[in-house]
Symmetry: C2
Amino acid sequence: MADKKKKRRQTDPDSDSESETLPFKKLLKPDSTILSTLKTLATASSTAGTSSAANPITLSSLSLSSTCREVTDLPLSSVQSHIETLALSLAHSILAGNGFSFSVPSRSSVNQLYVPELDRIVLKHKTSTRPYANVATVRKTTITTRIMQLVHQLCLKNIHVTKRDLFYTDVKLFQDQTQSDAVLDDVSTILGCTRSSLNVVAAEKGVVVGRLIFSDNGDMIDCTKMGMGGKAIPPNIDRVGDMQSDALFILLVEKDAAYMRLAEDRFYNRFPCIIVTAKGQPDVATRLFLRKMKLELKLPVLALVDSDPYGLKILSVYGCGSKNMSYDSANLTTPDIKWLGIRPSDLDKYKIPEQCRLPMTEQDIKTGKDLLEEDFVKKNPGWVEELNIMVKTKQKAEIQALSSFGFQYLSEVYLPLKLQQKDWL
Amino acid sequence: MADKKKKRRQTDPDSDSESETLPFKKLLKPDSTILSTLKTLATASSTAGTSSAANPITLSSLSLSSTCREVTDLPLSSVQSHIETLALSLAHSILAGNGFSFSVPSRSSVNQLYVPELDRIVLKHKTSTRPYANVATVRKTTITTRIMQLVHQLCLKNIHVTKRDLFYTDVKLFQDQTQSDAVLDDVSTILGCTRSSLNVVAAEKGVVVGRLIFSDNGDMIDCTKMGMGGKAIPPNIDRVGDMQSDALFILLVEKDAAYMRLAEDRFYNRFPCIIVTAKGQPDVATRLFLRKMKLELKLPVLALVDSDPYGLKILSVYGCGSKNMSYDSANLTTPDIKWLGIRPSDLDKYKIPEQCRLPMTEQDIKTGKDLLEEDFVKKNPGWVEELNIMVKTKQKAEIQALSSFGFQYLSEVYLPLKLQQKDWL
């Protein structure tokens, strides 16, 4: 028994028969070859970044600044003085005997526009007047004034709070949180700044690991030294800075389980990269963090999502924003994310076993067809083709389906081969 | 205008009128007084730890080892040899012409027992036989064998996977994940080890910040230098080690928003502590992490949860386990957690405004009454009293309700006062 056990132990798991029979493993070239492919990609991405930084496409360069609007990140002192200036003008209006009102940009879908050149949704010019001296609007005007006052307090104290905190400061007035939340978005558009500029932050749920160093609230964080758990992405992007990296790309992962596999295998040491996940639906903090990495480090972003309509939808939220925060799209979205996998064509290409594929539900198929009508899909013929395969075959698959070839198939074969073959769209 | 602005800026937010009128702020003694209170608490806790470590209460010291069972943490090599020994005995049985079967401890509720001395739920001695040569059990026996084989692979490779990964390695056999998940728990009890010993981990969602240094997969992490985001708690507790701390207590927080407030204010620097949250329902990784901190650092654990039945339920999951993982309760639970707040009696004591209290639903009240029947509540008269107040007043409140006194009321008044008055149960 002892001998037997010893013998079994000597079989190196890396060279055992299972690994040799792993599908497609023999297609893999040496890592050095794959790395030079990635270097070309990273260089192209950083050059593209430079040229577009020199001549960035903006609403005004498209002659849209008079008809469309976006909000920008503002420093806290500017938010404070904006509020003070606005308060002063309201006081003047009241003293002149005119009462007061706010001019609120409309955030409804008829006032939204997809701008292909920017690859983002922006707001058109429609605004509505919110007068105090009107039975229909007096409540909302009061709430707007109160929220402005609370945000002004946050500016003075230089602290961050959540939407929930904001609601609880005056439950009697706000009545329920949807009311204070909605007015908070109004205040963003009135002041022309992002919600994070107002120091109102969302709960964080993303994590990051790999070749990235950054500062969080003054502390320097080295993400190669964050073990397997990784670093929790901070909720307040304005206290994140000093990003440095020797990575060649950013790997955006939809799911926690795939993230864990890559973190434990320290995939980022074999192929220098930064691995980030929001564990499902992207939250604002993770979207802001990804955008900041992309812009500051000028790295290509490759996305690893489930092969189903929701995977692509998640990719689209990172890429061009969600509709209910369209006024903020410029600050939340990361341009030019590549769809690495799992793509519908991968299912046959990588011979994913039938029993690991799942039939799409009616709702899945409808969502898939709806996506085919979206501008952000239509502008990428490769994506249209993939999505067509999905709705035609009516099959979906999770990233975890790759485990059917072995637990480490994702990090040892699938991803290296994808990178080697530049197989992204 | 410029003068006006300057003047306003000079008003120090810490000494402004709002802070002076903060309810109960004038009751606060100097921090040094509160710190000496906490030192007494920490000393008491570490002494209690030592004495119970010298004479730990176990199933066998209670003469229950023949009638009850628990699983323990086993090193990977022991799990491997357990599986090999079992496989060998099955082979002998087959060669002797007897076929083979597994003896599986029952995890049903009739086989569960709450042991007051241990303050945990354990399994009684009932087992069932799972023979291969029986139409009723052949499928489950096959699945059991397959899961053992997969766990054995994990031992050889020394990697961690999720339950989902495990399922996808053989979808054809497992059919759906509930089947592989259930058998995985069976395998834990058959081998007498915890699920984390099998290297099958759950997704992490907890974060930790404050006066703690530990190693995650070989990297040393200093949680005072994790900014506001904090460190994500690793999914695999067996790669966590070398815990060091100069904290006086562990602050267990139910909600993300409260965690953020305390992290941004660096509460742990004013009152040396470790702040940990699972962001809602406790996950296995956070429970294991909390337990390890408590045992290694011998620090008292104070819990800050919502004042509703779910807050107390969450506390109970950390404290004495959830029913569906009762076989693993000894390894997942943290003994002697104190209920710091928000307690039902705090609502009046701290004059939480009526509009920030929420009426309990019928379901809430039922859950509250059910809790009153639970052993872990009954053994603590203070908890019973609080819970009685809750179901009598039919009012609940979130931690965030404290924001009605100002965003930083939690960190500047409520918690310091609670600590000063040793107001925990």
